[in-house]
């Protein structure tokens, strides 16, 4: 029986698919009933809390097996990719050893020349802790799947915050601090200083933060 799901903070298509027993989120995302979602959320990994997602009926799978025997069906734990460019004060934080703690798991690695961390992480785990040994030792908490779409003010504030243009908690509200952060972003990128988002500013934010992936 089909139903509608309201997106919660931290949800992305993969977590919703898993919640309803789908191995492939495309079955949901590509469903004609979700055409509005596809249009307004071009990136299935970046949704907005409150979005309504149509959950189609599941076509139950079949596995032939003998009766009166024990069978072991192994479902591979799904992984999802984290793509994170680390910078420090505007410069790539290159070749830095890090530890990424997610749930009970700790992943050690080193950032690339461009500060990149590209790392499979468990699906649906909302909280992580990224630590650099330093000195000084520095730890930053991460919320996976919590980024809002760039079409939303809150999504823009989150991106500005992550880029180092602090604008306070990403409430989505207009404010002087938001304007100041936008202005600082415009100044850094040699755009016209308006303190408000326009097409140039938005394009620049999308290329700077999302690497031109639509969201």
């Amino acid at each position: 029986m089909s139903q509608t799901y309201v997106v919660q903070p931290g949800d992305y298509m993969e977590t919703i698919a898993e919640k309803f027993g789908f191995r492939d989120y495309h079955i949901i995302y590509d469903d004609p009933n979700n055409s509005h979602i596809k249009k307004f959320r071009p990136n299935p990994h970046i949704l907005y809390p409150g979005d309504r997602v149509f959950i189609p009926d599941m076509d139950p799978g079949h596995e032939p097996a003998d009766t009166d025997k024990k069978h072991k069906f192994v479902l591979k734990a799904q992984k999802i990719k984290l793509i994170l460019y680390i910078r420090r004060n505007g410069e790539p934080f290159a070749k830095q050893a890090y530890k990424l703690k997610i749930g009970a798991q700790t992943i050690a690695g080193k950032t690339g020349d461009d500060g990149l961390i590209e790392q499979p992480i468990p699906l649906g785990e909302p909280l992580g802790e990224l630590t650099f040994a330093g000195p000084p030792q520095y730890t930053r908490k991460l919320n996976f799947g919590f980024l809002h779409p760039i079409s939303k003010n809150s999504g823009r504030q989150m991106r500005l915050n992550n880029l180092g243009f602090g604008c306070g908690p990403p409430t989505g509200d207009e404010s002087d601090t938001y304007d100041a952060a936008v202005r600082a972003f415009q100044r850094r990128n040699r755009l016209t200083l308006t303190g408000k988002f326009n097409d140039h500013t938005l394009d620049k934010l999308r290329s700077e933060y999302d690497h031109d992936v639509p969201s």
Partner: protein, 459 residues
């Protein structure tokens, strides 16, 4: 604590780490002109204290980042004296960084930290400190110190700004001076009624390092207080603790036994004491006088009581007699006793006529100067016999010096101890604006001053 960074999966993200490193340490040089703290802006990482003789890190201090919305982040300094404050997501604007070392007190470094009944004091105590910082993109654009140093005796506020050389900066190194550094030695406690005098010294050093290391160190020599170039005062021993800081005698008492020693960072010579040192000293003296009922007349210089060249003797013995030793010269003639006198502290010369004193030697038109080898016996005054001189001028002089407090043999013979006492008297009372030569001879001016001091009423 700041919110976790919201990150998407499967698609690229950028996370630009913004945080400030705060380093809290004490630099024994104390050369800053800031009333308690210095910023050192060092690009790229904190300076390590290579030489522990010259400084120490402050471990376990609470470092808070305060904004309009309250505490934005808080951290403790680690074993390197370092704390990291998260500034990601903070809007640009004005913030405060508050540093509260363990055992912080808002008190003055004076008798307020001297209660003999308290449990053992910690090794260090500090004043908490607030630094106003202008943040932009999570980095420091400007730092302003609003140190309220009224407690240091200045009664005013200093405001200093340190625009960092590399703007914006991610490192705020702070040099925080303690108000208390416990001497590394068990000290004998003295009874309340033993605290009768205060001895003012100088360290004869341009910087405080040597003095600090000595005073906090395990040797018996030391001082209760040190006033640095900025008037910042550090206490090393409780006022009731026995600390060896001055040999000799004053009014028949051993200064080590009965005195509280105050050292001022000052290199001997013609350089003036700093303008911050006087108010700090005056404030400390007033607190000590009030706390222990010390006669303000018994605030003297090391040169008034001290001796030089006798340190191998047991100069802590109550009856030790060093009249023949050389005297220390500090705090020296550049020290402005008149600033203390204006506050009712120290010996204050009055206005007393010479009258018939000293055999009327100074009343005539002839210039007579009492000097070494003058003697009441053969009536030798000014180096030649003056048989008609009435009374015993040398003995009278010796008696007057002794009444004021100087140690001198009362013999009627102007021998070397008398000369030393006269020099000490001149060094004290011909200092500052009254400065003139110290020659150990009693001319009319010196004789008049001796009368003025001897005859001055006790406040």
């Amino acid at each position: 604590m700041p919110d976790p960074a919201p990150i998407s999966v499967e698609t690229p993200n950028v996370l630009d780490l913004r945080f400030i490193l705060v380093t809290v340490r004490t630099d024994f040089l104390f050369r800053s002109d800031d009333g308690g703290v210095t910023f050192h802006w060092i690009k790229g990482g904190a300076r390590k204290i290579e030489d522990p003789e010259n400084g120490e890190v402050i471990i376990g201090a609470t470092v808070e980042l305060l904004g309009t919305g309250g505490v934005q982040d808080t951290a403790l300094t680690d074993r390197n004296g370092q704390a990291v404050l998260e500034t990601s997501q903070l809007p640009s604007g004005d913030y405060k960084i508050k540093i509260t070392p363990k055992n912080s007190r808002n008190e003055f470094a004076g008798p307020e930290i001297a209660d003999p009944d308290t449990p053992p004091l910690p090794d260090r105590m500090y004043h908490p400190l607030e630094v106003e910082v202008k943040l932009s993109g999570g980095l420091i654009e400007q730092a302003t110190l609003q140190a309220d140093i009224a407690y240091a005796g200045l009664g005013n506020r200093v405001q200093q700004q340190w625009p960092p050389p590399a703007v914006p900066a991610d490192h705020l190194p702070i040099d925080l001076k303690p108000i208390w550094m416990r001497k590394e030695r068990a000290l004998l406690a003295r009874a309340d009624d033993k605290l009768q005098m205060i001895i003012v010294h100088n360290t004869d050093g341009k910087i405080a390092t040597g003095a600090i290391n000595q005073f906090k160190g395990p040797l018996q020599n030391g001082a209760h207080y040190l006033i640095d170039l900025n008037g910042h005062t550090i206490k090393f021993a409780k006022d009731h603790d026995f600390v060896v800081n001055a040999g000799g005698k004053w009014r028949g008492k051993n200064p080590n036994d009965t005195g509280i020693g105050i050292e001022i960072v000052h290199k001997e010579g013609d350089t003036e004491y700093t303008r911050q040192q006087y108010p700090a000293l005056i404030d400390l003296l007033k607190r000590l006088v009030a706390a222990y009922g010390i006669d303000p007349m018994r605030i003297v210089g090391h040169s008034d009581v001290g001796t030089r060249g006798v340190v191998t003797q047991d100069f802590t013995a109550p009856d030790a007699d060093f009249l023949d030793g050389g005297r220390d010269n500090d705090p020296g003639q550049v020290f402005r006793w008149e600033k203390l006198e204006a506050e009712g502290l120290g010996m204050i010369p009055g206005d007393v006529p010479l009258g018939d004193t000293y055999g009327k030697l100074f009343n005539g038109t002839e210039t007579v100067v009492l000097k070494l080898h003058d003697n009441d016996g053969p009536h030798k005054y000014g180096g030649k016999p003056r048989p008609g001189t009435p009374g015993k001028p040398v003995r009278e002089l010796q008696q007057d010096l002794a009444t004021i407090g100087y140690s001198v043999h009362i013999t009627g013979d102007f021998e070397e101890s008398t000369e030393l006492a006269v020099k000490a008297f001149q060094r004290h009372f011909f200092s500052g604006d009254r400065r003139r030569a110290v020659d150990g001879r009693v001319d009319k001016e010196t004789a008049q001053m001796i009368q003025n001091v001897k005859g001055a009423p006790s406040p």
